[in-house]
């Protein structure tokens, strides 16, 4: 069974699909019918790859960390997605989707953002390709992430406050979808993770899979073997995780570990650990695990890292979890903070709080000296300076 491609209705096993109201159906249908053909075409791939190389700065380095390796008694590599233009892996998807929107003759882009990373990446790609851009962001997140709001504005994007519901990422997503319902013809919606109705999970997966494609080649160059023993990535919606896992799924060797945000503890009531607590339900048009009440109301999650603060996970991750292809664990806010400070001191890299979750899991592993471990360092910590200052 194929573990990385959805069926024609957008299902990975029982997860995924397109649970959207009829008002959204034509938008989704247009994408479903066209995305594969467009993004697989030579001209698209050529333009996409050249922008990733010359504008984004890919391939990003695969860095062998002597210091972490000595400390944990294994061979630890960091995939430096933090060195991408705009500071995280989000730009891979933003560039791909703006190129797609242009080919669909759309003249306007909308997107949601939580911490602002996807918003900044989208605003950047829109500035580059001269297309109108509106970003929806929860009112509370706008307050928490001021520098990213200013970055988006400097890049020419309009930032709209989502004032409904809990005024955070899930509500910004709702508002972006509502805006799309009201403007179905000229607007393309760029979702920031492997979530949402089919074909978004597959679309974003394909744009992010460049991460593991590069890891494979780089590992082969550096070690003579393209298959690591472990790949570890943080898991919010799951775009950096699927990017880092994609080419290692079903390779017969590599153990894939997704690290969720435990928040203040899985049973504290303040957590974003979807697999630990979640039940199968429907969020943003997709059937997947999500944190909800017994009655099916979606619960506002908590994580110190805004990028992991999402009540669901991408349907492909629910499927990979249920089929045992990916092990899902979680670490707390404090463990992530400690790991972030540690990497800053030993390797001179200040990671994003999201990525620090993946690093923190190293402490919980039993490793052999021969083990090759790749950690996806999905973003840099500049955006988290205010939080880091508070806990120094």
């Amino acid at each position: 069974m194929n573990h990385t491609k959805p069926d024609k209705y957008g299902y990975y096993g029982e997860f995924g699909g397109a649970f959207v109201p009829e008002m959204l159906y034509p938008n989704i249908k247009e994408l479903q019918e066209n995305y594969e053909q467009i993004i697989q075409s030579d001209s698209f791939q050529e333009e996409f790859k050249s922008l990733l190389r010359d504008y984004v700065g890919r391939p990003t380095p695969l860095f062998f960390s002597k210091n972490l390796s000595a400390q944990f008694g294994a061979k630890i590599y960091l995939k430096r997605e933090d060195l991408n233009h705009t500071g995280a892996h989000k730009i891979n998807n933003a560039i791909g989707q703006v190129l797609l929107a242009k080919r669909l003759n759309k003249n306007r882009i909308i997107a949601e953002t939580g911490a602002g990373q996807h918003g900044v990446a989208t605003a950047t790609a829109c500035a580059l390709m001269n297309i109108d851009c509106t970003i929806f962001m929860g009112e509370i997140d706008i307050d928490r992430q001021k520098p990213n709001v200013e970055r988006m504005r400097i890049l020419g994007a309009k930032v709209v406050a989502a004032t409904s519901g809990s005024k955070t990422l899930k509500d910004a997503t709702n508002e972006a979808i509502r805006e799309w319902i009201n403007n179905p013809v000229d607007t393309h919606y760029i979702i920031g993770s492997v979530v949402g109705p089919h074909p978004y999970p597959d679309l974003v997966t394909q744009f992010q899979s460049i991460i593991s494609e590069e890891i494979k080649m780089q590992l082969n160059e550096q070690t003579g073997n393209e298959r690591p023993d472990y790949v570890i990535a943080c898991l919010g919606g799951g775009s950096n995780a699927i990017g880092a896992f994609y080419h290692f799924i079903d390779n017969g060797k590599t153990k894939l570990i997704a690290v969720e945000a435990g928040g203040e503890g899985v049973y504290s009531g303040k957590t974003a650990a979807t697999i630990a607590l979640g039940k199968i339900g429907i969020i943003h048009g997709s059937k997947t695990y999500l944190i909800q009440t017994d009655d099916g109301q979606i619960v506002e999650p908590h994580s110190i890292s805004a990028g992991l603060d999402y009540p669901g996970i991408g349907p492909i991750h629910s499927f990979l979890h249920d089929t045992g292809k990916v092990e899902v664990v979680n670490v707390t806010d404090q463990e992530a903070l400690d790991a972030a400070f540690h990497l800053s001191k030993v390797d001179g890299i200040i990671p994003a709080l999201e990525s620090a979750h993946a690093l923190a899991h190293l402490n919980k592993m039993t490793l052999k000296t021969s083990d090759v471990v790749v950690i996806n360092l999905s973003g840099r910590g500049d955006k988290d300076m205010l939080t880091y200052q508070k806990f120094m």
């Binding site: 959207v20 909800q292 009655d295 099916g296």
Partner: protein, 256 residues
């Protein structure tokens, strides 16, 4: 006989259906609102069960859903409130809401419960057609529930026919491409209304979204069997309360 089918046999013009959110403004208002609407002479009532993330709804219905959830409304509670509703009224009743609460309640149990209580139809806006055909159609039919589906100005004729085939009761004709409570003018939709009328579908049609007063109601009735009002009614409840007189005043302002 299903009360919606019966309604459309007896009456084909100027139908008025009213939507309200169960649990709003207060948790236990549901039955009173149903009875007052019945007395005020509406033809059909749509009872919304709240969801935390209602994608197709504008601010007014979102807010009423949020308030209802805060008040403690759940699907189980709604069924409890409605268990004796058929002692009070024979008006056709439709439940409307999103898939996730139904999934958590249990899809089979949900439709069985609807049948037991005397609910006649269900509108689940985010239920895909293929999902209905594969997973729900049998259960819905076994329980004699009308599956009411939406069409919009962007729905192409092939799909309209498919939707018409899978629907029962009536087709919910969304007036424009928008979320509920929108302000787009009716004139823009005239072409669409005529086009649907000319298709001679098997189901009757009711027009909803953006119907908020006598003028928009009467205009909608020109092109269909009637109209649905939601947002404007919820606004009215918010400002004037749920007393019998208040509800009668609202209905009279729409249709004498």
């Amino acid at each position: 006989m299903n009360r919606i089918d019966k309604l459309f046999q007896q009456k084909q013009n100027n139908l008025l259906s009213i939507y309200f959110t169960a649990g709003f403004p207060n948790l236990n208002d549901t039955l009173s609102i149903v009875r007052h609407l019945d007395k005020a002479g509406v033809d059909l009532i749509e009872i919304g069960f709240p969801f935390s993330d209602p994608l197709a709804d504008g601010p007014v219905i979102q807010q009423s859903s949020g308030q209802a959830i805060e008040n403690g409304m759940t699907l189980s509670m709604l069924f409890e409130q409605l268990k004796d509703v058929r002692r009070h009224t024979q008006i056709p009743l439709v439940l409307m809401g999103y898939m996730n609460p139904v999934l958590q309640f249990g899809e089979k149990e949900f439709f069985k419960k609807c049948n037991e209580i005397g609910i006649d139809g269900v509108i689940l806006p985010d239920m895909p057609l293929d999902y209905f055909e594969c997973k729900l159609q049998n259960i819905v039919e076994e329980n004699d529930i009308a599956n009411i589906l939406l069409i919009t100005p962007e729905t192409n004729s092939e799909r309209i026919n498919q939707i018409d085939n899978l629907s029962r009761g009536f087709l919910y004709m969304v007036s424009s491409n928008s979320i509920t409570g929108g302000n787009k003018t009716m004139d823009m939709q005239t072409e669409y209304f005529y086009r649907i009328k000319a298709m001679n579908l098997k189901n009757p049609t009711l027009i909803g979204f953006g119907i908020k007063n006598k003028e928009t109601y009467e205009n909608a009735c020109k092109y269909s069997n009637g109209a649905i009002i939601g947002t404007a009614f919820i606004e009215h409840l918010k400002q004037h309360g749920i007393a019998k007189e208040s509800i009668q005043t609202f209905i009279k302002s729409i249709r004498k």
